[in-house]
Symmetry: none
Subunit: 243 residues, 2 copies
Amino acid sequence: MELISRNSKIPLYYQLYEILLNRIKDGTWQPDDLLPSEAELVDQYDLSRATVRQAFDMLVNQGWVFRRRGQGTFVSRPTIEQNLSRIVSFWEDMQQRGLEPGTKVMAREIIPASEDLAEELQVTPGEELASIVRLRLADGEPMSVEYSYLVHQNCLGILDQDYANNSLRQMLRDQFNINLVYARQRIRAVPASEQLAELLDIEPNSPLLHIERVSYSDQDIPIEYLEINLRGDRYTFYTELRD
Amino acid sequence: MELISRNSKIPLYYQLYEILLNRIKDGTWQPDDLLPSEAELVDQYDLSRATVRQAFDMLVNQGWVFRRRGQGTFVSRPTIEQNLSRIVSFWEDMQQRGLEPGTKVMAREIIPASEDLAEELQVTPGEELASIVRLRLADGEPMSVEYSYLVHQNCLGILDQDYANNSLRQMLRDQFNINLVYARQRIRAVPASEQLAELLDIEPNSPLLHIERVSYSDQDIPIEYLEINLRGDRYTFYTELRD
DNA sequence: TAGTGGTCTAGACCACAAA
DNA sequence: TTGTGGTCTAGACCACTAA
């Protein structure tokens, strides 16, 4: 049983949320399984019921579990929506596809925001941005080249972190208390430039899936502008639409 | 000021939620306006803070408001979500982009379902499908080539309709009582074949946005398999992701 | 009847933003 | 320094479900 740290900066309810979510993700608890009752978790982790409920609330809101009064809390059957329209890190994405993810950091630097980037991130042109260029690998083969831009003021010192082995989302949450909860994307098909073609080990002008994504925090503030160039021959983007 | 009834069966937090939501909907509070603080509402309605927060939680989860620590709770700007993740017809889509839509029907016929198509549409191979090939125009210029497949049994006689000037969705709804409410898509970047390149008036191997879409009725029955080949230089796909 | 989640109270201390 | 939301506690009573 994982433990909850009372000294950590991470809130107790969030630690519990992660513990529970992990058990769902790793299959310890299967769809329709009964979760421990709120009272059990109160005893087990020495938390108040309100804190336990706060963790459960997150799981319910995200569709991982559902509650039945008088019966208990149960794991949801996976809906397709969760798998399709969620924000996923490259790491998660590749693992879901059964591929071994890898990352090579090609460059990292502080740059002034261009007009376009400033508009996307809702800052003034010239504002300091933390820029990272990463080559993404799947099963050792190049999959994509990503250009990431963060408003440096929001995450001072982030360029010193270990990008290759840590999820950006996780670093933002744990070290800067920034939760990325929502993103807007533009997707196009473009021909590969000479430079990208070489990095991706494909012919120039091969089709790339080009994604421009702005991710927002839970406070509606744009946090990251991400440009992804995916090999058309290796990557399919899944999504779903509703009426 | 609306009042909260302590005798009602409706929970206090829900009554408060409705009061607050109404003021947002009727425009009393505009986007970016500051809502009353939690403490104010506690005093005003004689509720505990937890109850007020529960009402706020609902508004936050539904995207009506967002919180800023140290500042207050604010009305959200209307999200683009509704415009992004909805099913839209080619017609609507082009009009939203300010382009004049047009359609040329290239072929229409009844064909037996291949293995792949049968699986997508959940029928047995060989089942009769209504197949339509359309060239889509925007401002008179080729935009995409669409291959559409419908289970003929669901919409007998549909091939006799006027495809060029009527929305398929509308025909299905009005004449066959079929509502398309949900769709799953796969999006890839592919090189244009000789044939597609000629139809689209582009160079062979130019990048195309290739979309495979299965649309489902309100009864969860797959209705249409649609393959869209969009010119990469003319079309951008918008979408949004949530945590 | 016992156990579950649903609602609600009355506090407390904290981190953060603005004046 | 003041007021805001963020987190947490230790209770309480209720409605519902299943045994």
